[in-house]
Symmetry: C2
Subunit: 343 residues, 2 copies
Amino acid sequence: MNLKQLSEILGLSQTTVSRALNGYPEVNEDTRLRVQAAAAKHGYRPNSRAKGLATGRSMVIGHVIPSSSQHEMVNPIFGDFVAGAARKYSDHGYDMMFTNADDTSIEEAYRSLFQRGAVDGIVLQGPKVNEHRIEVLTRMGVPFIVHGRSTGVDVPYDWIDVNNKSSFLRATRFLIDLGHRRIALINGLEDMDFAQRRRDGYLEALHEAGLSPDPELMRSAEMTEVYGHHETRDMLRLVDPPTAILTASMISAIGVRRALNEAGLKMGKDVSVIAHDDDLSYLKNGQDVPIFTATRSSVRRAGEMAAEMLIERIKSPEDPVKTRLLEAELVVGGSTGPAPNRF
Amino acid sequence: MNLKQLSEILGLSQTTVSRALNGYPEVNEDTRLRVQAAAAKHGYRPNSRAKGLATGRSMVIGHVIPSSSQHEMVNPIFGDFVAGAARKYSDHGYDMMFTNADDTSIEEAYRSLFQRGAVDGIVLQGPKVNEHRIEVLTRMGVPFIVHGRSTGVDVPYDWIDVNNKSSFLRATRFLIDLGHRRIALINGLEDMDFAQRRRDGYLEALHEAGLSPDPELMRSAEMTEVYGHHETRDMLRLVDPPTAILTASMISAIGVRRALNEAGLKMGKDVSVIAHDDDLSYLKNGQDVPIFTATRSSVRRAGEMAAEMLIERIKSPEDPVKTRLLEAELVVGGSTGPAPNRF
DNA sequence: TGCGTTATCCAAAGCGCTTTGAAAATGAGT
DNA sequence: ACTCATTTTCAAAGCGCTTTGGATAACGCA
């Protein structure tokens, strides 16, 4: 069923039917009702390609999935961020489109998505330090929003980010206040901007306290469970092992816990652990009392907000740049305690 | 830059330029090269909406995300399945589109996606028992594939699934052979088809061994970490607690492990655990020796295969129905051992 | 040279919608 | 009854592409 057929059935012109359906004022209310009833009855749905061609808008937001199988952003966080964004998109009549690109052709993927007219806006996830894609998108003139920020990029752009530095600064201070001196950081990949900022926060807190950082206690990789486990086991073998560990995700925190258990150490007593908690729906940090002391910020919520900001940007391309910095809460759970007295 | 402009620059007709770019034979090779060079130089990209309008195909595959915040399928598995599918889509020139729908309007979402011409095919994830959506899609005549199956639906349809029943049958037998008699099943939501089949396998193995199932040992809910923990803790308090636990995902297995640790029990010695492992990239089951004994089947691989099967279906709508049943491997790890002797 | 083939290229129609500019219908005012 | 303004409807153009049905040029061969 297309417009033409529907208009023939109704004995009206396509113009009138189109207008009736799209809420234009220059159509008699009775006619509008008739048209709407007929459309519902025949299950008429305007072809979105044709509509897009005619209006110049696709009502689709684009995301790119980097296909290198082990890329930081694809995984734990992906599902929740997308679920949050998707809901907001649909509230505003947008769909979301994903396109796959291997690491070498990501830039091309963005370009293609927009220039083909497939999407009206783009979400850039997982920015690295000096993220080149931001300039690319800016030059293309596509409305976009960055989930995160990129140190070293000085063109203005819309972003929404957690205050990673302050989170890790406060978390580290918290451990220092508990008497810890050997504090490890199990970080994400350090070319990722968020990892860099977390590291900065961590270092600043150490510095404030007059502690000098130990490279042996700073690890960086993809945030998997296995990685958290591996690095922890490795550090526990040091001559002077850490008494506290900061880790970049709940997933790796679980690996940390596993390593501690294997070593017969009690979390929160022998070794304190603080994790960053993205508040993933299938991996809640306990029910009432948090399992891990954590810096918490819902990535699902971030997805919702990113979607809304992007839609606003699409509506008002000339608005000044908008940014949004979310503060993570520091929630205290059972995984931290005073530094053990070694003597 | 559009076709018209490009053809004017080249002094050719739109027809010829279009054909040159799309590899049609009725164009001189020299001309084709000239056209390709110019297209590259000017960064010409055919508008996909216009192309879609003209060809009647959108080169997009649709997925629907149910928006009830706690739905079974959205989460742990989502990211990896999608990543697998996305790669195959892009190999064949397809993009993927997501649309959000709350539980009441999922059917409408599928209908809209296809009838608006937004997608050429649909992936149906997380089928329930008696999944109504399958008939809806069949009647609509849209090419689709189901990830999973649906007991009680008797129209033929394409699907790819893990042999859930046989996996859990074998896993349960394995525990019985180790001397376990009190075996718990921490299952997914039982209106999900996969959960039902796992339960069948579990029950069949008990039956074979002359064991009668204990409702107290059969739990069912969303497969979160917290859930695995909660049910385990609860069952450990029974007068006659389980000596072995089967659980439906790695995530809930982690909760099981946490509960065992809290109770001072050693996994693989005091209580054996077998998990179903979807082989998620950020949650590998250990490095060399598996942590959990597990029934393993890569959901990412399933995503790839689903994508390929769907694309074939789109190409050949009249082909006979295709189905694919994957056998999970039973990998033995450190979480299982002989049943403890209580006497 | 003339004619049938084949290789190239093109004009125009069509995909299904929105939107412009104009026409028809209605109503108000005198 | 007639004019003018307003409301309601319509025909046709246009969005950017593919594809049909020719036209033209080039070629082979008698």
